[in-house]
């Protein structure tokens, strides 16, 4: 058998990750329906009515005095962990492996659930100087002006602060007397039978007047992006390199976790790295145009690319992508060659 024959035999048997295939197909049914090109023009009066109706709904929601904060979405990490990041939370996924998941919370609240499985899994939520570890439970780590606190909704959690160790049972908080403001995220996670199929990032924050601005000074293109960006806090443990984060973003996309992949890409783009940021920014635009079927956001990201990296070798690709998005919106006439 020649070298080529040998390679052919191996190539024919090249195994594809079954779990990945399963996830991909699970997601496919969801977004394939939304990936239809939007070519038809809406009559101006229909658009006007739609705008007026939307404005009325928004006005009603804004004027309602006791409106509730929007419910954040559950985000799956790996196979057995789901989290909900509350608005204005800043956190970073330090590890998402088969046997452990670790998050660092710089500010805000992360509620996490770990589903039981055949093999042990270590779920750790960390804040500055504090670590809360569980092996099958629902609990939250909250970081505010008073420091970090842990609230256990199910199971038991081991909390460590320096040399201090505590076991916190269901219904209890650490430190004793810490007040958990809201347990809706925990209820939401407890209501799930299995980890969510869709890895959704937290939805837009409903900021109150005078409230501290979003931790990420996101440009207009990212205005609707999740506020809980995966940002490395200054005192976090050694962070992944941008190359690794890019690899992770590609992996997430390959697994069909498009929202998380976009969040990761935007975070890489925000790093303003000459090598990885333009690549990641373009990738985010590609995902918006493709699986997310959101040409408007793809255009915004392409415009951001043009602003930040006008001379980059990928700039023509960004412009082409912008044109494709405009064509999908029936605005091909706006696609003009740029200098």
């Amino acid at each position: 058998m020649s070298r080529l024959d040998d390679l052919i035999t191996r190539a024919r048997q090249l195994p594809v990750n079954e779990a990945g295939a399963q996830r991909y197909v699970a997601e496919l049914a969801r977004w394939a329906r939304h990936d239809e090109p939007r070519r038809s023009r809406v009559p101006w009066f229909a658009g006007g009515f739609a705008l007026a109706a939307a404005a009325a709904v928004i006005a009603l929601l804004l004027l309602r005095p006791d409106r509730a904060a929007p419910e954040a979405s559950a985000l799956r990490i790996g196979e057995r962990v789901a989290i909900i990041a509350e608005p204005n939370t800043r956190y970073r996924v330090l590890a998402a492996e088969t046997d452990r998941t670790e998050l660092f919370v710089e500010r805000g609240t992360i509620t996490a659930r770990l589903w039981p499985g055949a093999a042990p899994h270590r779920l750790a939520l960390r804040a500055e100087g504090v670590e809360a570890v569980a092996t099958g439970t629902v609990y939250a780590l909250q970081v505010d002006d008073h420091g970090a606190s842990v609230h256990v909704h199910e199971g038991k959690v081991a909390v460590t602060r320096g040399s201090e160790h505590a076991q916190v049972a269901a219904g209890a908080s650490w430190p004793a007397g810490a007040v958990r403001r809201d347990r809706r995220a925990a209820d939401q996670l407890l209501a799930l039978a299995t980890p969510p199929a869709i890895a959704l990032a937290p939805i837009t924050h409903d900021a109150a007047p005078g409230e501290e601005p979003s931790p990420i000074d996101a440009p207009a293109a990212d205005a609707a992006a999740p506020h809980a960006h995966a940002q490395a806090p200054p005192d976090a443990p050694p962070a992944l390199s941008l190359k690794d984060r890019w690899r992770q973003a590609r992996l997430l996309r390959g697994q069909g976790n498009f929202d998380t992949a976009i969040t990761e890409c935007i975070a890489i783009a925000d790093a303003k790295d000459a090598t990885w940021s333009p690549i990641a920014l373009l990738e985010a635009a590609r995902i918006e145009l493709g699986p997310r079927a959101s040409p408007e956001r793809a255009i915004a990201l392409a415009d951001r690319f043009e602003t930040e990296w006008p001379s980059h070798q990928l700039a023509p690709e960004a412009r082409e992508l912008r044109c494709r998005a405009l064509r999908q919106l029936g605005r091909a006439d706006e696609c003009k060659p740029r200098r």
Binding site: S2, R3, L4, L7, I8, R10, A11, R12, L14, P15, V16, N17, E18, G20, A21, Q22, Y24, V25, A26, L28, A29, A32, D35, R250, L251, R253, G254, Q255, L282, E283, R286, G290, P291, Q313, P316, E317, E320
Partner: protein, 187 residues
């Protein structure tokens, strides 16, 4: 999985069985992944190609007439999608690396596949496509010809030429790695 099983899955999927549909798509996903990797490598362009192909399969399943096997049908769509994206994204950066999270291979096996992919990248598009369809994905000349929009004989001829060129490329590569000058005996 044998082709007959895929055909049965396709029939069940068309009659509204979502489980059969998902199983069929999982089987086809593996074929599409392999095809796209050897056609255009990895990276964002490959993700786009896989995605476009899978969406086309998902949407086209209802209209699939069963004249070819589902596997051949998927390969045909993947071939056309890859060719379209190659043309459209002529400036794309080629990535030969095998994504270890997508493919279940160890480092040594991945290195071999990358070597094959790099050798394939040196072929013309036509020869490479014919080789992938016939030698790697084991389509018949008729099936490959149909997928490539050419005659069966032409597809077979391109496959033969591709094999000959690949033998040379791989021999030279081995010689380079071994530190020899690459001279070889003419059989």
């Amino acid at each position: 999985m044998a082709a007959i099983d895929l055909a049965e899955l396709a029939r069940q999927a068309q009659s509204g069985d979502a489980t059969a549909r998902d199983e069929l798509l999982r089987q086809l996903y593996a074929v599409v992944r392999r095809h796209i990797y050897f056609s255009i490598g990895g990276g964002p362009l490959a993700e786009d190609a896989v995605q476009e192909t899978m969406v086309a399969l998902y949407r086209g399943l209802a209209a699939f007439r069963g004249e070819a096997s589902p596997r051949t049908w998927a390969i045909t769509i993947a071939t056309r999608t890859a060719a379209k994206l190659r043309r459209r994204e002529a400036r794309h950066v080629v990535v030969d690396d095998l994504d270890a999270e997508v493919f279940d291979v160890d480092q040594a096996a991945a290195a071999e596949m990358v070597m094959l992919r790099r050798a394939l990248a040196k072929l013309s598009d036509k020869k490479r496509d014919a080789f992938i369809l016939m030698s790697l994905l084991e389509l018949t000349a008729q099936e490959a010809g149909k997928a490539l929009g050419t005659f069966a004989n032409t597809a077979a001829s391109r496959d033969r030429h591709a094999r000959a060129e690949l033998e040379t490329i791989l021999f030279d590569e081995s010689a380079r790695l071994a530190g020899t000058d690459g001279e070889r005996e003419i059989p």
